[in-house]
Amino acid sequence: MRDIIELASIGLVSGLVIGLAALAVTLVFGIARFANAATGDTMTLGAYAALIGTAWTGSFLAGGALGIAAGAATGLLAYHFVFKKLEQRSSVASLLASIGVGFVIRAVLGLVFGHGQQVFQLPMVRPFRIYDIRVQPNDLKIAAAAIVTLVVVFLILHATPIGRRMRAVADDPMLAKVSGIAPKRVMIALWALAGGVSAVAGVLLGMKTVVSPEMGWEMLLPAFAAAVLGGIGHPVGAVVAGILLGVAQEVVSPLVGFTYKIALTYAVLLGVLLFRPRGLFGRNEGVR
């Protein structure tokens, strides 16, 4: 039992990171209406920017802030130079272009930083125990950072005028247009927000693991899976699904074998889609 609780808590932390990445995917999907494959590489970029920031200032928080700024800037640049031009076209065009954007980001990172691994120098601390459950201080930090980010994002979405407009566009683009919401401002807010969230996910992933040009790309699949599982375009769903997948992976994979850990994600995904074709929280949309 103790093992399972520990595994679940491990999964929870991984799940929060996946959930953040999925949140970035789902925000873009809900409003710009395509699956953004550049999300993973935006994460990587955020992690590298945070590394630089930390090295410059010596402060991890300042580094993280630079990471977020870099992620947001990347989102805006990608919107301005690529996705804005594809707005009137099918979602597949944007999806394919986003793969291209991801490749370009990865190429630049590879050229600038090389392919070797880099790490965030976190203090390594031994765990403390609560009811005989091991709790790792670094996990707590990562989880806290993820939760703070989530709270901020949801505050932006629900308590600011631009956030409400974003949600309105997500709910019904036609309606939003009729009621006079300037889509351009919404799009700018969206891309800055999604880029920033990706960067946070990247920094947290980098703290847990190592930073390399491919790290974000490798996390893209789980992030997509979580976004779909949660019901694409549904922010709460993305986060919940990310946690669900993270926990399921850790708790179940000792039983089915660790080599099938990643496959578990898809098993869960397919299983849910069989019964809820639009994901856990997805609305049954009508004729599109």
């Binding site: 694409i232 898809y266 889609l273």
Partner: protein, 294 residues
């Protein structure tokens, strides 16, 4: 030099098979299949495992096609009714699951060690004549595929899949079930990928799970996007550009020695990315034009 060119031509031929399959699925029917490499993998392993037991080439090729199509069947049945972009992600996951299965099930696939010593095709020939024979076989396979596809496109079946690509809901409104057609198309395209996988296995002679990563799928996508979706000529031209680009960058190295290999890898992926972006924005119909019939 000739043998090298033939080698590239052979790999190109294999990729064209894959591109034709994807073109049928995406270009003609609108199925966003991001798991193409999974069926390539199934085909390659089918051929490798069968030929280890002494089964001849004339059986391994069709068997690979059949098994790849069969692998597509449950995937299509379960997920083709999902939204397009959901299917894209589920199929991507499917190809990863295929890779994990061949990695993990050592009793069948020899796991991560891979399967070495897969018999070559036309083994009684040697050198150039063997390579030319392989190329000839690929040419025949591709011609058969193209011929069959042309036949299909001009049939009521072809008309229907293009209708599905243009508007799936409207097809439903006419009382026809799009999923039925999409399932067949998914299986057919997968069969082509399977044949490609079989030829690949026999040609390279060694397969291991790490050869079947999603990057292959995206390369094929790039080929059909550049060449022009919905057109046989597009699949062909796009694949050739892809191969010339990937192989050409080797020679670029000889000319530009100041770019290190590590940087070259980044440059290569960067150019692929830029090409994807520029083509989707400025030349969405690809080099050979889009799928407007005529």
């Amino acid at each position: 030099m000739e043998a090298y060119l033939v080698a590239i031509a052979i790999v190109t031929g294999i990729y064209v098979l894959l591109a034709l399959g994807l073109n049928l699925q995406y270009g003609l029917t609108g199925i966003i299949n991001f798991g193409h490499v999974g069926f390539f993998c199934v085909g390659a392993y089918t051929a490798a495992i069968l030929s280890q037991h002494g089964v001849s080439l004339f059986i391994t090729l069709p068997a690979s096609a059949a098994l790849a199509a069969l692998a597509a069947w449950p995937l299509g049945l379960v997920s083709l009714r999902l939204r397009d972009d959901y299917f894209a992600i589920v199929s991507l996951g499917f190809s990863e699951v295929v890779r994990l299965i061949v990695t993990s099930e050592r009793w069948l696939t020899n796991g991560v060690q891979g399967i070495p010593g897969i018999p070559r095709m036309f083994a009684d020939l040697s050198g150039m004549s063997q390579a030319s024979a392989v190329l000839g076989l690929l040419l025949v396979l591709n011609l058969v595929a193209i011929f069959a596809m042309r036949r299909m496109v001009s049939s009521p079946f072809g008309r229907m899949i293009e209708a599905i690509r243009d508007n799936e809901e409207a097809v439903k409104a006419l009382g026809k079930d799009p999923a039925r057609f999409k399932l067949r198309v998914l299986m057919l395209g997968s069969a082509l990928a399977g044949v490609g996988g079989a030829v690949y296995a026999h040609y390279i002679g060694f397969i291991a799970p790490e050869q079947f990563i999603p990057l292959i799928t995206f390369q094929i996508w790039m080929a059909i996007i550049m060449g022009g979706v919905g057109r046989v000529s597009g699949a062909l031209v796009g694949t050739i550009i892809l191969m010339v680009f990937m192989e050409g960058s080797r020679f670029l190295r000889d000319v530009l020695p100041f770019i290190s290999e590590v940087e070259m890898a980044s440059v290569r992926i960067g150019i692929v990315g830029l090409a994807l972006i520029l083509f989707t924005i400025h030349r969405p119909q690809g080099l050979m034009g889009d799928y407007t019939r005529k």
